[in-house]
C-alpha cells in the first residue's frame, strides 16, 4: 500500500494505448481517491473505454503504469485484477444470457466462494454449507438492485433496463472495492436512470469507490464528486462537476469551435 498518498485508491500514470497507428489514449495520468465517484466523460472515441480496458487487464497498454492500492496492475490477467477488488461492467450489455437472473448473480459470486475441486468431488459438508450461504448472498444482491422478483426468469427474457441492473448485480457479486461502470444508463429512460442514481448512492454507502464512464450529463453532474474530461486521448479538464460544466475546453470539445466563439 502506498504510504505517501493513502487516499489514492487507483493511480494511472502516463497511460498510452495505440491500435496500429491510431492513438486511443496519450500519456494519460489521473487518480481515483478512496470513496469518491469519479466520472470520465468525453466525446465518442476520446479513449474512455480504452482506459477502462487497460485498467482491468483486457488490453495491454503501450506505455504507462496502473497501480491499485500500491499494487501494479500492468500485466495481470482480468481475473487477477478482479481478485484485487477492481471489477468492471461492459459498455454493451453483458450478462450470462442463457441463465436465470439468480444464477447470473451466483456465477458472479465466484470470488466469494472458496470450494476446492477435491472438496467438491467428495461433497464435503463445508461445500453444502457454503452453497447455502452463496444462495442467500445472491438473493441479497438481487434485492439490492431491485430484481428480487426476477430471480427465476432467464436473463434473455428480461427487459433492457433490468438487464443493465443485472450487470451491476453480477459486478457487485464479485465484491468490488473499486467498481468501474461503463455507460451503465445508456439506453435507459429517465425514470430508470433516476432509480439507477439511487442504486449508485447505495453502492457508495457500501464504501465502494466508483469510476464511471457516462454520456448522460444529468447523471454525471448529479452523482459525481469529480469529473475528468477526455478529448482525443488526452485529459483536458479535471475538477468538480460545476467547474467542468463551465470549462471552455470542455464546451469546445463537446460542441465545437463555433459554439465557444459565439458565446464570447
Amino acid at each position: 500500500m502506498s504510504t505517501s498518498q493513502p487516499d489514492r485508491e487507483l493511480v494511472v500514470d502516463g497511460l498510452s494505448i495505440r491500435f496500429g497507428g491510431l492513438t486511443a489514449v496519450e500519456s494519460m495520468s489521473f487518480h481515483v481517491a478512496k470513496g469518491e465517484i469519479l466520472s470520465l466523460i468525453g466525446p465518442n472515441g476520446a479513449g474512455k473505454t480504452s482506459a477502462f480496458n487497460a485498467i482491468t487487464g483486457y488490453i495491454e497498454p503501450n506505455g504507462g503504469t496502473i497501480a491499485y492500492r500500491g499494487i501494479r496492475l500492468n500485466g495481470l490477467k482480468p481475473s487477477q485484477i478482479a481478485a484485487h477488488g477492481v471489477v468492471r461492467t461492459f459498455q454493451k450489455t453483458s450478462v450470462f444470457m442463457g441463465q436465470t437472473a439468480f444464477d447470473n448473480v451466483l456465477l458472479g459470486l465466484h470470488l466469494a466462494s472458496r470450494q476446492r475441486p477435491l472438496a467438491i468431488i467428495f461433497a464435503l459438508p463445508s461445500v453444502a454449507r457454503e452453497e447455502k450461504e452463496l444462495a442467500e448472498e445472491a438473493r441479497r444482491i438481487l434485492a439490492f438492485v431491485g430484481l428480487e422478483a426476477r430471480g427465476a426468469l432467464l436473463a434473455s427474457s428480461l427487459p433492457y433496463g433490468e438487464l443493465r441492473l443485472l450487470e451491476v448485480a453480477i459486478a457487485l457479486a464479485a465484491k468490488p472495492r473499486l467498481l468501474l461502470l461503463d455507460e451503465p444508463v445508456s439506453g435507459m429512460n429517465p425514470s430508470e436512470t433516476a432509480s439507477f442514481m439511487q442504486i449508485l448512492a447505495r453502492i457508495r454507502a457500501l464504501d465502494i469507490t466508483v469510476l464511471l464512464v457516462e454520456h448522460d450529463m444529468k447523471m454525471v453532474m448529479g452523482v459525481s464528486d469529480r469529473v475528468i474530461c477526455l478529448n482525443q486521448g488526452r485529459i483536458i479538464a479535471d475538477g468538480p462537476p460545476a467547474a467542468i460544466q463551465s470549462d471552455r475546453e470542455v464546451i469546445r470539445a463537446y460542441l465545437g469551435e463555433r459554439y465557444t466563439r459565439a458565446q464570447d
Partner: protein, 346 residues
C-alpha cells in the same frame, strides 16, 4: 420425487442381468455403457465449458493402452542401450494407472491447447488424436502396432484367501460398468453444481464477463480437461479389460464423432443428455445389425441424424423434452390465474 425417480432407474438398471438371459444383448448394453461414460466425460468439456474437443477418443485410447500395458507388463528401448521394463501389475491398479495417465495427458493438452480457441482448438485436438493413433500404430515394440495387444487380463478383486470377484463374465462386467458410470455421473453432477462448474458455465456463456468477476479461464478449462480426460481414460480401461484386445483402431476419429453425436443429440450441457444420446446411439447399431443392414448404413444414419438434430433439435433431446414438459404443465396451471382474474373482474 426426482430422487425417487433416480433410485427407481438405478434399481431397474441393476436388475437387468437378473431377468435378461440374452448374453448378446447384455454385451450390447455393456458397450453402450462404456460409450455413455465416454460421452459423459466429453459433455463436461463440450457441454459445460463449450469447447468442442474433437480429439476426445485419444484419452479413451490412452486409458485403454496404458491400462492394458500395465497389466501385461512391457519392455521398451527408449534409447538403443536403455531399456525400461515394467512387470505385470494387478488389473485394478492398471485401470487406475490408465485413468491417471489419461488425466495427466488431459492436463498437458489443456495447458498447451487452450492458448487457442474456436476452429484452431478443434484442429489441435484432432491432430493430437491422430498423432497418438500413429504412435500406437508405429511404436511396435510397445504397442504391438497393428498386431494389437492380446490376452489382456480381466479384472479380479478380492482379498487373497478370503474371497475373489472375477470380472470375466458379462453380468459382472455389466455391474462394473454400471458402478463406474454412476460414480462418473455423481462426480460430474457435483462439479457442475459447484463453484467449479459455475465457472465453466460462466466462461461458456460469456468469457470476458466471467474473467471480470474473477474466473481464471485457463484454470477451469484445464480442470475440466483433466476430469474429462481421466473419465474417458477410465472408460477406455473398462473397454480394454472387457474386450481384452486393443488395437490402434480405438483411436479412430469416427469414435470421437460418435461421442460428439451422442452428446449433441442427447443435449449438451445437461446431465442426462449424454446418457440419453449414448443409449440411442449405443443401441442403434445393434438394431440396424439385427435388421441385417450393412455397417455403412449405420454410419450414414449417424451422419444424417447429426445433420437433422442440428437443424431440428439444436439443443438436443433432453432440453426439448424438458421444454415440452414445462409447456404442458404451464398450460395445465394456466386456467387457475385466468379464473382468478375473471373473478376479480367481476
Amino acid at each position: 420425487m426426482k430422487q425417487g425417480l433416480t433410485i427407481a432407474w438405478l434399481l431397474f438398471l441393476a436388475s437387468v442381468p437378473l431377468w435378461l438371459n440374452n448374453l448378446y444383448v447384455l454385451h450390447v448394453l455393456i458397450m453402450a455403457g462404456i460409450f455413455i461414460i465416454a460421452a459423459m466425460s466429453l459433455n463436461l468439456l463440450l457441454g459445460y465449458t463449450g469447447q468442442l474437443s474433437l480429439g476426445h477418443v485419444a484419452f479413451f485410447g490412452i486409458g485403454a493402452y496404458a491400462s492394458s500395458l500395465a497389466s501385461l507388463g512391457f519392455a521398451v528401448h527408449l534409447l538403443p542401450d536403455w531399456q525400461v521394463s515394467v512387470d505385470p501389475k494387478p488389473v485394478w491398479f492398471s485401470m487406475l494407472c490408465g485413468t491417471l495417465i489419461a488425466g495427466l495427458c488431459g492436463w498437458a493438452i489443456g495447458r498447451l491447447s487452450f492458448k487457442v480457441r474456436g476452429a484452431y482448438f478443434v484442429i489441435v485436438t484432432v491432430s493430437f488424436a491422430e498423432v497418438i493413433r500413429l504412435v500406437a500404430l508405429n511404436w511396435v515394440e510397445l504397442t504391438q502396432g497393428p498386431m494389437a495387444l492380446n490376452n489382456i487380463p480381466y479384472l479380479r478383486l478380492g482379498i487373497p484367501g478370503l474371497f475373489e470377484l472375477s470380472f470375466l463374465r458379462k453380468p459382472a462386467n455389466y455391474y462394473l460398468v454400471l458402478a463406474v458410470g454412476v460414480i462418473c455421473y455423481v462426480v460430474i453432477r457435483r462439479l457442475v453444481h459447484s463453484r467449479a462448474g459455475r465457472a465453466m458455465i460462466a466462461l461458456r456463456e460469456n468469457e470476458p464477463l466471467a474473467a471480470s468477476v474473477g474466473v481464471d479461464v485457463t484454470r477451469y478449462l484445464v480442470l475440466a480437461t483433466i476430469v474429462s480426460a481421466g473419465m474417458a481414460g477410465a472408460a477406455g480401461a473398462l473397454y480394454a479389460h472387457y474386450v481384452r484386445i486393443v488395437d490402434p483402431d480405438v483411436f479412430l476419429f469416427i469414435y470421437t464423432v460418435t461421442m460428439v453425436i451422442m452428446v449433441v443429440t442427447g443435449g449438451k450441457g445437461t446431465l442426462a443428455g449424454p446418457i440419453v444420446g449414448g443409449a440411442i446411439f449405443g443401441l442403434l447399431p445393434e438394431t440396424l445389425r439385427a435388421l441385417e443392414a450393412p455397417p455403412e448404413v449405420q454410419w450414414v444414419t449417424y451422419g444424417v441424424l447429426m445433420v437433422l438434430v442440428v437443424y431440428f433439435l439444436p439443443d438436443g433431446i433432453v432440453p426439448a423434452l424438458r421444454n415440452w414438459w414445462h409447456g404442458r404443465s404451464a398450460v395445465a396451471a394456466a386456467p387457475a390465474p385466468e379464473q382468478a382474474s375473471t373473478e376479480a373482474a367481476r
